[in-house]
Amino acid sequence: MRLSMDLEMEDKPGQLLMALEPLREQKGNIISVLHHRDKKTPRGTIPVRVILEMDRSRLETVKGQLQANGIMVVRAGEERFLEEITVLLVGHVLDRDLGDTVHQIDSTGFAEVVDLSLSMPGIDEPSSAYLRIRATGKDEIQKAMSILRQVCVQKDLLVIEPIEADEP
């Protein structure tokens, strides 16, 4: 089964090895390791995403070993969401039931809103929301976006999409 793990580690030599060793011991087949040394977290740790093939039953053992090695396990589980898109909504985002807007994406089963920031300058003034949406694939991202576009037409919200998402 394909699994993904979001780890955080201290910025000191040998940490990555400490993170990968338990995976080897549990016969995990590593597919990719994304080591974001330039994107430190506010805690000063380095985020690393590992994608691997491994029996799910071994996950708890691996998590325990990682923690024992001083590696923080932020999230571990089935790798579902491979694609990501960011969008900006402008208008009466909150008044038009933001919870419902998010739910329309989340309820698809193939896409989820994973990050949300709001800016509300004042009552009665248009607010804006930044949304990060993850989905299981490129087509699913497009499906989620077309749902979002429809919802935003109904709610009279402006959807600002990223230019790089869909290059000609």
Partner: protein, 336 residues
Amino acid sequence: MTEVRISLVGYGVVGHGVVEVLERKRQLMGEIGLDLTLVSVTDHTGTYLAPDGVVAKDILDHRTLEGVANSDMAAREVFGSIDCDLVVEVTPTNIVHGQPGLGHMVDALSMGKHVVTSNKGPLVVDYRRLKDLARKNDVALKFEATVGGTMPLISLIERTLVGNTILGIRGIFNGTCNYILTRMAEEKYPYNHALTEAQELGYAEADPSYDVEGVDTAGKVAILANSIFDMDVKYGDVEVTGITGITPESLILAHKRGYAVKLIGEVPALTVKPMLVPLGSPLAVGSTLNAAAIYTDLSGTITVTGLGAGRIETASAILSDIVSIYRGNHVDAQRS
């Protein structure tokens, strides 16, 4: 030396620029073998005829030809009665019916004159007919100045990138919108404040709706679709969202996440809408600049940027179109 006798129709800001640039570049044009002679200027008040060539200083100080016109001929009569090879059409644009420019262009092409223009309206309204007329009469129709002003786009695609299949074009084609969005992001100005500033600086018209509602950009998208992608579309075929709903808070939110918001026109998708552009992207230009990314099969993505408007800048694009008609015709002949 090839003599080119030019009739200018339209004597507004761009018309003045054309008169000035033709005068300023007379010697340089001579050096490349072109004797560009402006033999008539026509506006809504009359015509100024100068068979031996217009002396720029005689008319440049006049805002219109009223007072200096020496003939009451309309453009059509001018083309029919004087010896001219090429018409520069720079009357005010109308994106709905294309007039008066459309009539001028039809007349000029039908009478076997090359046409060079910065006037979007006629090309949006009746591109196919104009192109057919040019082909039938074996003359050129050139309109680089209609899209992106002085920024080379159409000539870049038709000449330099010849052989590439163009997959798409995305760009910022309206300097007014770009100025407003840039100021809102930089100074956290509300939309109305940024618009007022743009109007005070002369970047936006008193009635800014043509720019800020995306109409101008949509016209350019239609021209690119018709000319580069061989489509047959009008302004109404373009899906348009302008920038009036954008708030400074949304720009700040975008900026924090590494994005600028720009009004982007896209072909062949036929859309005009605000989009998130990564701050490091070559398309993320500020102030009144225009920019265009050309997606090609062989050359990858090519991005150009430059001033989208301005008297001299637009005249410069017109001058380069004129020169291109008389230089290296063989490349254009294959495409027309």
